[in-house]
Amino acid sequence: MPDLGLDVLFKGKNMIRLLGGLWVAVKISLISVAISIPLGILLGIVMTSKNPIIKAVTRVYLEFIRIMPQLVLLFIVFFGSTSAFGINISGELASVIVFTVWGTAEMGDLVRGALISIPKHQYESSAALALTPAKTYIYVIIPQTVRRLIPLSINLITRMIKTTSLILMIGVVEVLKVAQQIIEANRMSSPNAAFGVYLTVLLMYFIICWPISMLAKRLEKKWG
C-alpha cells in the first residue's frame, strides 16, 4: 500500500478546515443560483419577445457570457473593478457577481427553450375550453414549463458548484485552496499528502454533486 498521506487529514483541524472550504464553495454557488433563477426566468421570458432589438441584445449577452472563460470574467470583475473604478470588492462578492451573471444567462436560455417548446396547440385547446389566458398559464403552460425546467436547472447547479474551483485564483479560500494550504504546511512531514488530500477533495465534490445529478435524472424520467 503506497503512502497516500491520508494521515494529514486527521492532524489538528484539517478535516474541519476542508469541510469549511467546501461550505464556502457551496455557499457561493447556492447564493448565485438563488439569484440567477428568478433573474433567469425574467430573462427567458424577455428572450421570447418578438422585438428584434430585445432579441439582439439578449442574444449578445448570452453568447458573450458563454464564450468567455469564467476565469477571465472573475479576473475582470475582481482585479478590473479595482484598477478601473477604484472599488475594492472581496473575492467572494466578485465570485457571486460572476456566477450570477453567468447563471442568469444560462438559466435564461433554459427558460426560453422550455417556453418555446410548449406547442401552440396547448394554448389553443385551453382557449377552446374557455380557460382565460391567465388560467391557461397557471394550469397548463407553467406546470409544463417547470417540469421541463427543473432537471435542467439542477444540472446548472452542479455545473456552478464544480466551477467554484476557479475562485481560488482570486484569493477565495474554498475547498481546493484549503487543500493546497494543508499540503504546503505538511510538505516536510508528509511529502506524499498531495494525492490523498486532492482525492478527498474529489470525493467531496462527488458527494455533493452526485445526489443532485441523480435527482435531476429521476425528475427527468418522471416527467419526460
Binding site: 406547442p119 396547440h121 396547448q122 389553443e124 385547446s125 385551453s126 382557449a127 377552446a128 375550453l129 374557455a130 380557460l131 382565460t132 388560467k135 394550469y139 397548463v140 406546470p143 409544463q144 417540469r147 416527467w223
Partner: protein, 251 residues
C-alpha cells in the same frame, strides 16, 4: 325546423392579402349536424377556428344564441363554454392524467364542484369505452383513445354545439372507426355539430346538411344524399371523383 343556434353572416378572413374566407354566410339550427367538405386549403379549418374566435376576422359577424363572438373580447370565455372544439392533434394536456384533463376546465372555467364533474366524467368515459383509462397519462394512450378523451373533455363542459376539425386525419385507419362511432352517437343524441372531415362515407351517414367549400366560398349547401348522388356543381363532382377508384386491370 328548430330555432337558430349559430349564425355566420358575411364572414371574411384574410391572411395578409390572401383571402381565405370570402363572404361566408350560413345558419346552424339546434340539433343540426353540418359537415363541411372541400379540397385542402379551402378554408374549412380556418372557418371553424373563426367560429371559436381562435383567429381574428376581417369582416362579418358570428353569433351564438344572439351573442356576437368577437376575437379578443372580454366575454369570450363565457361564449366559448357553449362551443366544444376537438382538434386534429388531440391536444390533451401531457402533464395531467385523463381524468384531470377532463376536470380542469369545468372546475377552473365553470367553477363546478369536483365530485359532480368527476362523476359525469367517469360516465362519459364509460360511454366511449375508456373508463379504465381515467388514471392513465396521455402518452400511454393510442391516438384513437386520445381523441376520444378529447371529445369527452369538450363534452364535459356541456357545450351547446361541437366543432370537429378533421379529428381522424392523424389516426391510423383502424382507429378512425372508434372515434367516428362516438361522433355518430352524439348525432343520435341530438348534439348540434359542425364537422370538417375527409371521410366521405361518414359524412354521408352523419350529416343533415353538407357544405362544399372551395377557395373560401360555399359552393354547395345540400342534403347529403343530393350532394353525394347528384352534386349541382361541376367542381363538387370533380371533388367527389377523387374518392372513387376504378379498376386498373381487366378481370
Amino acid at each position: 325546423m328548430n330555432e337558430e343556434l349559430l349564425k355566420v353572416e358575411h364572414l371574411t378572413k384574410k391572411f395578409e392579402d390572401n383571402v381565405v374566407l370570402d363572404d361566408i354566410s350560413f345558419t346552424v339550427h339546434k340539433g343540426e349536424v353540418i359537415v363541411i367538405v372541400g379540397p385542402s386549403g379551402c378554408g374549412k379549418s380556418t372557418m371553424l377556428r373563426c367560429i371559436n374566435a381562435l383567429e381574428p376576422v376581417q369582416g362579418g359577424r358570428i353569433t351564438i344564441d344572439g351573442d356576437e363572438i368577437v376575437y379578443g373580447s372580454k366575454n369570450l370565455s363565457s361564449l366559448r363554454q357553449k362551443i366544444g372544439m376537438v382538434f386534429q392533434s388531440y391536444d390533451l394536456f401531457p402533464h395531467l392524467n385523463v381524468l384531470d384533463n377532463i376536470l380542469l376546465a369545468p372546475m377552473k372555467a365553470q367553477k363546478r364542484k369536483k365530485d359532480e364533474v368527476a362523476k359525469e366524467a367517469v360516465e362519459l368515459l364509460e360511454r366511449v369505452g375508456l373508463r379504465d383509462k381515467a388514471k392513465s397519462f396521455p402518452r400511454q394512450l393510442s391516438g384513437g383513445q386520445k381523441q376520444r378523451v378529447a371529445i369527452v373533455r369538450a363534452l364535459c363542459m356541456h357545450p351547446e354545439m361541437m366543432l370537429f376539425d378533421e379529428v381522424t386525419a392523424a389516426l391510423d385507419p383502424e382507429m378512425v372507426r372508434e372515434v367516428l362511432d362516438v361522433i355518430l352517437g352524439l348525432a343520435k343524441g341530438g348534439m348540434t355539430m359542425i364537422i370538417v372531415t375527409h371521410e366521405m362515407q361518414f359524412a354521408r351517414a352523419v350529416a343533415d346538411r353538407v357544405l362544399f367549400l372551395e377557395n373560401g366560398s360555399i359552393i354547395e349547401d345540400s342534403e347529403p344524399d343530393t350532394f353525394f348522388e347528384s352534386p349541382k356543381t361541376e367542381r363538387a363532382k370533380e371533388f367527389l371523383n377523387i374518392f372513387n377508384f376504378e379498376r386498373s386491370k381487366e378481370k
